[in-house]
Amino acid sequence: MSQSEFFNKDQTINKVEPIHKDRPTQPSWRKDKSDILREANERLTPLTRRAFGKHLLGLGSLTLLTGCELTDDASVQVLLTAMSRLNDRAQAALFSPTQLAPTYSKSQIKHPFPFNAYYGLDAVRHVSEQGFKLAVSGLVNDKRSWTLEQLKLLPQTSQITRHICVEGWSAIGEWGGVPFATFLQRIGADTTAHYVGFRCADDYYTSIDMPTALHPQTLLALTFEEKTLPAMYGFPMKIRIPTKLGYKNPKHVVEIIVSNAYLGGYWEDQGYNWFGGS
């Protein structure tokens, strides 16, 4: 299965229609812009174009409307998506590769640490360690896959940091594992590439920018509170990124892709901001 096939495959559990289901995997921000324009042209039938004019005239009354209708309106959505892409760039500019997320003491760890996913606790994937291999693909020199034992032999570090959910709640937890920059170095990743993507055993997927992937606190996490990562927190591994919101911290990771092509994400393709930085 090719990369793009994987990333565009139908999410059967997903009840919300993805907005960018057919987003072509193109590199660079610039391509994103033409992407948006192309989508705008596709969506803007003459009728909706007229509607857009009407909306511009009645912009004041427009804000009085609530609910989905307004946000789902094609012309409004084009504007909001364009602003979200602008915010991606603003966040990339604000991101400092050396600015560390605050760390906390063990006593501040949240118990029980909240479980969160696009499915309920009863649907948690139980990945078997036996036969498990982490696949590596894309712009890397060494595409050999990794067993958990091999990953445990790499240099390990740990952090007590705050997990911030896009919903607004936060919780402090402790994760341990391989500094992601170290892992990228081991696989000979092209660190000039734009994106690092993650494919997960629970059909989740997301992607991040290379500067964040190389951030010293970005972790290929194998433990939670010094114990093997429990299934509910993402066994066999989670990518822990304290400089990003929770939905940019994938669990049950089974493949890592280094790419210049935009890879999107499960929530991002439905409208969540792609950069999702904190």
């Binding site: 009085l64 504007l79 600015q99 605050p102 896009v166 919903e167």
Partner: protein, 214 residues
């Protein structure tokens, strides 16, 4: 007597602000509902965006409008000298006597060119609240990238609380503000780029607040 109409830049800033605040508060309440700080969710009719992702799109689009407009407003106020002319001097004795007049419904609005002490305090407090709003918002959005703001706000969770109360203050101000507009309707005419003649005529009458525009 000269007209009390606001200069065009005040009118523009005011209405852009009103528009952006509608979006910011509506979408903000939707985001609040995703994880309510105080338990209860707010009624959906007060919210904008349809779902969390939509509300976030609205919030982070309109924030640019709100922030840039606020900066232009403050910048123009300082550069034109309006800030000093309108808000200085501010005396405590005037504030208490105006407050006393207010509770007896005797506060004068005969001359709209001069702010009474209550107006000065109210409008200045809103500038402060908007600043707190923006700073706490930045601390919620970028707690890692803005460590000083995060620390001032008392870490991430508390930044949300500060952000909420700054919003609440601005909403309560807006309600009081709209009440005053209903009581003294010609203040609205002074903020509109139309109805110049009416406005000018009304500002000529001494007890203008007793003559409602027809």
């Amino acid at each position: 007597m000269k007209s009390s109409r606001h200069p065009p830049w005040i009118m523009i800033c005011h209405w852009i602000n009103a528009f952006s605040m509608l979006i910011m508060v509506g979408s903000g309440l939707k985001i609040y509902n995703a994880s309510p700080i105080f338990g209860a969710k707010l009624p959906a009719f007060l919210t904008l965006g349809g779902w969390l992702g939509g509300a976030i799109q609205w919030h982070f689009a309109a924030m640019w409008l709100f922030v840039v407009n606020a900066m232009l407003y403050l910048g123009f106020n300082v550069l034109t000298g309006r800030l000093r002319a309108r808000f200085m001097p501010l005396r405590f004795a005037e504030f208490t006597s105006d407050l006393f007049d207010l509770v007896r419904f005797r506060l004068s609005h005969a001359n709209l060119d001069v702010y009474n002490a209550l107006q000065k305090v109210a409008y200045l407090s809103v500038i402060v609240a908007a600043t707190v709003m923006i700073c706490s918002g930045l601390a919620v959005w970028k707690p890692v990238q803005f460590p000083v703001l995060r620390t001032i706000m008392g870490d991430f969770d508390n930044s949300r609380v500060v952000h909420f109360f700054a919003m609440l203050y601005l909403v309560l101000f807006t309600l009081a503000h709209l009440t005053m507009v209903v009581l003294v309707p010609r203040t609205l005419l002074n903020m509109l780029p139309i109805g110049f003649a009416q406005s000018a005529r009304l500002s000529e009458t001494k007890e203008g607040n007793q003559h409602e525009p027809k």
